[in-house]
């Protein structure tokens, strides 16, 4: 049994303070009456009201959401395909090279990814806007999906696919009706990962953005350069809330499915 000591308590307090104090301050000041960010002048929710009527912020939020949904969907499809090819493709020539190349963007500095994509878009004469951001986000987030899905596929009993073929499925039908439903949780968590990565990406977006496609992180960043306003505090608080709700929901869902499975197995043992 671990005992509670003063040392543990102190370490825990400092650790959590380090992680969450900045966010706590941000949330607190989002309810500040005053226009000055660092001077407390009483509780108010007026900045949230102002935010709701700020067209520029709202359109940036809409664009961000669109980009995140589209890019994470493409990333989920492409990442799953890549993972499937790498895990199931057997030992084809240059397999190691391919898997290395899929995972390289994980460690590639964003600046380099962004710059190289920008150069590519200029070279092929593509107008920069929502499309280019979606392409860029798909490129860097599909490798995250691929990592998640391939780790699921590695533990996947391949005889399930063979059984499907044996029972009359074409290879595509086997993938659709057996493999996909089983790896779906991994694909969904890959999608969520890609979604959050796209939502808060600043560097790659700013390289590939165009005049009419400012995303929320870009908007916040440029606004902060003119001085932090309480409006931005309010916006950030909303984003923290969304992310927190999302994370808690995801963990509740997975906990519930584990609990259900356990209950089922218990039931099977009793009979």
């Amino acid at each position: 049994m671990r005992r509670f000591t003063w040392f543990n308590a102190t370490a825990l307090t400092f650790g959590f303070a380090f992680l969450y104090l900045p966010m706590l301050i941000l949330i607190t000041y989002s309810f500040n009456e005053s226009r000055l960010v660092t001077v407390w002048a009483g509780f108010s929710t007026k900045w949230y009201g102002v935010l709701l009527h700020d067209k520029a912020f709202l359109s940036a939020a809409w664009i961000t959401l669109k980009v995140a949904v589209m890019s994470s969907t493409f990333a989920a499809i492409l990442g799953t395909m890549a993972a499937y090819a790498l895990v199931r493709g057997g030992r084809f020539r240059g397999r190691t090279l391919f898997s290395g190349m899929i995972y390289a963007p994980l460690v590639m500095p964003d600046v380099i990814t962004g710059l190289s994509l920008l150069l590519l878009f200029i070279a092929i004469g593509m107008d920069r806007g929502v499309t280019t951001i979606v392409l860029a986000h798909t490129t860097f987030s599909m490798c995250f999906v691929s990592v998640v899905v391939s780790s699921r596929l590695a533990t996947f009993d391949q005889s399930l696919e063979e059984a499907a073929l044996d029972l009359g499925c074409t290879p595509f039908d086997a993938f659709r009706s057996v493999t996909l439903p089983i790896i779906a949780p991994a694909v969904i968590s890959g999608w969520l990962l890609a979604f959050t990565l796209s939502l808060d990406d600043l560097v790659i977006s700013s390289f590939t953005t165009g005049p009419s496609s400012t995303t929320l992180p870009i908007k916040i960043y440029s606004a902060v350069r003119l001085g932090v306003s309480p409006e931005i505090n309010a916006l950030s608080s909303i984003m923290i809330l969304i992310v927190t709700v999302g994370v808690i929901a995801a963990s509740l869902v997975s906990k519930r499915s584990i609990a259900l499975q356990k209950a089922d197995e218990q039931k099977a043992l009793q009979q």
């Binding site: 005889s159 063979e162 044996d166 029972l167 089983i182 099977a268």
Partner: protein
């Protein structure tokens, strides 16, 4: 002889006019430098229960996967009903397989698992439910149709896997170590159930196993494999009583092997000189051997009698000393050490409840057997 088929006359392999259902013609399969199957030819007949038996890595699973279509032969041909299967993908073959891991689809219920193959066949939708019910009845799973695979026991899963692979009424059912995951008692019950189902459905079964007892119980014929080759194909009793090689004799059941040199006496009777100062063993060779041929005399422990006095009736008798006794309840195995140091096992049935052993450790005993009790092997 083949009591699992209900009549003793089931022996299509002895009828030259009979066409085999499956024919392997000089099939070789290589994985890189490794030869898994080496120039192998076998025939399997309709309604047979054919067992592929061998240690792990002998190629038996590769053989079965070639039948299912998951592997293609490097050389040679596989014919099913006279048709070359090389270009036929797994989903177009009239075969179904029961996997070692059962490979039940975890996201589908038991009934949906069984219906999976039917939905992809040309069976009309209205008949599928009836066929699923029929399979559930056959495998005694009526109450479990709505359960998911993880909500039933291991033995029930095994029956679902069997029901699913039989649902499409395949010409040929392949079973890959189907009982490996079950405990011993359940395995024995299931073996008889399998035989029962095979008889009811009239399907040809090919089973892969490394368990010789399992193969002996269920199969009409057994192919003993080693290193990608077939060593012997025979009915269980012929395999046990007339092994063609030391490998088969040693693999199937327990056996005593005595090395020696042959000296024919005529009329297939052969003397085997096996130790200095010991009388030669008299046995029956399958064919006349040349004098001095190196050979093994192989005899099963239950065919060796043990006694305290030299018996008059048996052709062969050797003296030894009880080295060890294994009491197995129904039988006892005596390990008897001969003068040259060789250990010979003799089995005696414990017909009476023993108050006192007939023999105990270090007792001098005689081992004896007739001239037809053992076989002479030259391979």
């Amino acid at each position: 002889m083949n009591d699992n088929n209900g009549n003793t006359d089931f022996a299509p392999w002895e009828d030259p006019a009979e066409k085999p259902l499956i024919e392997f013609r000089n099939v070789t399969k290589r994985f890189g430098d490794f030869t898994a199957i080496d120039d192998l030819s076998i025939n399997i007949y309709d309604k047979e229960f054919y067992a592929l038996l061998g240690p792990s890595g002998c190629g038996k699973t590769t053989l079965m996967r070639m039948l299912a279509g998951f592997e293609t032969p490097t050389e040679g041909q596989i014919l099913l009903d006279g048709q070359d299967m090389a270009a036929v993908p797994p989903n177009k073959r009239p075969t179904n397989m029961m996997f070692q891991s059962y490979a039940l689809f975890p996201h589908l219920s038991v009934a949906e698992n069984i219906a999976f193959g039917l939905k992809r066949s040309d069976m009309p939708k209205s008949e599928i439910a009836g066929r699923v019910d029929e399979m559930l009845r056959l495998t005694r799973l009526e109450q479990f149709g709505k359960r998911k695979p993880h909500q039933i026991s291991g033995g029930q899963r095994q029956r679902v896997a069997l029901a699913r692979s039989l649902a499409k009424a395949p010409k040929l059912l392949l079973l890959d170590e189907p009982l490996g995951a079950l405990d011993k008692k359940l395995r024995q019950d299931t073996q008889f159930e399998l035989m029962d189902i095979q008889e009811k459905t009239g399907t040809t079964f090919v089973i892969v196993t490394h368990d010789q007892e399992e193969a002996m119980t269920v199969a009409s014929r057994i192919a003993v494999m080693d290193a990608g080759r077939i060593i012997q194909v025979a009915t269980p009793d012929r395999l046990y009583e007339n092994p063609n090689s030391v490998y088969v004799a040693d693999f199937i059941g327990e056996i005593n092997l005595i090395e020696g040199k042959a000296e024919p006496l005529g009329d297939k009777l052969t003397e085997i000189h096996w130790a200095e100062g010991e009388a030669p063993i008299i046995g029956t060779a399958p064919a006349d051997l040349a004098k001095g041929t190196a050979c093994h005399f192989a005899i099963r422990p239950e065919k060796v009698a043990i006694s305290s006095e030299r018996p008059e009736t048996h052709a062969n008798a050797v003296q030894g000393q009880v080295h060890d006794i294994a009491y197995l309840g129904n039988i006892s195995t005596y390990h008897v050490k001969l003068k040259n140091g060789q250990i010979i096992k003799a089995q005696a049935a414990n017909n009476r409840r023993l108050s006192r052993r007939n023999f105990t450790w270090e007792d001098p005993v005689w081992l004896s057997w007739t001239d037809t009790a053992g076989v002479i092997l030259t391979q």
